[in-house]
Amino acid sequence: MKVNATGDHPDELVRRIQSEISSWTPARGPRWAELSRSVEQRPFQLFKVYALAAAALAVILFGAFLAMAAFNVGTLVSQPVVSQSHLQK
């Protein structure tokens, strides 16, 4: 005699899956009013935050570049060229 039913028949496991899953019933069920309210709320879109931060960073960097170029600050200052050609003569 076999010990259990699960190993006896190949469809027994499928039957068991079907029987157990059909016993799973949602406690709250469909809630259309709640769904409508959720749909009305605008979803938080993280990509917009990233896009805004990237744009702000680009503006800051470009502004810094223009300011430094205008006031001859940092490496954008026109460097004096030391000519040593007279020494070669």
Partner: protein, 177 residues
């Protein structure tokens, strides 16, 4: 038995929601093992589906489209949960509060399902409970059809072994009482 007419998500979303809610819930429940969480994720899936209802193309049944959204929502949730378990396990949860701990599989079948990954659990439920074909399951899960067939076959072997093992250990325990 006559098959019910298929509903158009763009114009009959409410009817579709009421008809498919339970079915989608069961798939999500098999993935997360928590009835309350499954209901929240199920509701979130329908919110997403409603927002993108105009993008639905009738290449498959609307139920399959809803299941695809729900599976993605559940997988995203499980990934977020796993990530937060890794990053900040004790930041806002006290020890033993149980929020991130894996939900205990209560029944024998749940223990069998628990041996599988969430995606394979979804495949088993979609195929053996909802009756989707392997091609439809493949489209829902976004994996090749051959992979679905091999994963389902392997899953059934794993589950059968788990159930047989559990029952064999339970029988001596019962007879010893």
């Amino acid at each position: 038995m006559e098959k019910p007419a298929e509903l158009d998500p763009a114009t009959q979303f409410r009817e579709l929601y009421e008809r498919e809610y339970r079915s989608v819930y069961r798939t999500v429940r098999a993935m997360v093992f928590d009835s309350s969480l499954a209901e929240d994720l199920c509701q979130e899936s329908f919110v997403r589906a409603f927002r993108s209802r105009d993008k639905y193309r009738p290449t498959g049944p609307p139920g399959a489209w809803l299941h695809r959204i729900a599976v993605n929502v559940a997988i995203s949730h499980l990934r977020r949960e796993k990530l937060s378990r890794v990053i900040a396990p004790k930041l806002w949860m006290g020890p033993g509060s149980g929020g991130y701990e894996r939900v205990e599989a209560k029944t024998l079948l749940e223990r069998g399902l628990n041996k599988l990954s969430p995606k394979v659990r979804a495949a088993v439920v979609l195929h053996y409970f909802h009756g989707y074909t392997r091609d439809e399951v493949a489209r829902i899960l976004g994996i090749p059809s051959g992979t679905v067939a091999s994963r389902i076959a392997k899953a059934m072997v794993v589950m059968r072994e788990e159930l047989v093992g559990s029952e064999q250990t339970a029988i001596p325990a019962r007879s010893g009482q």
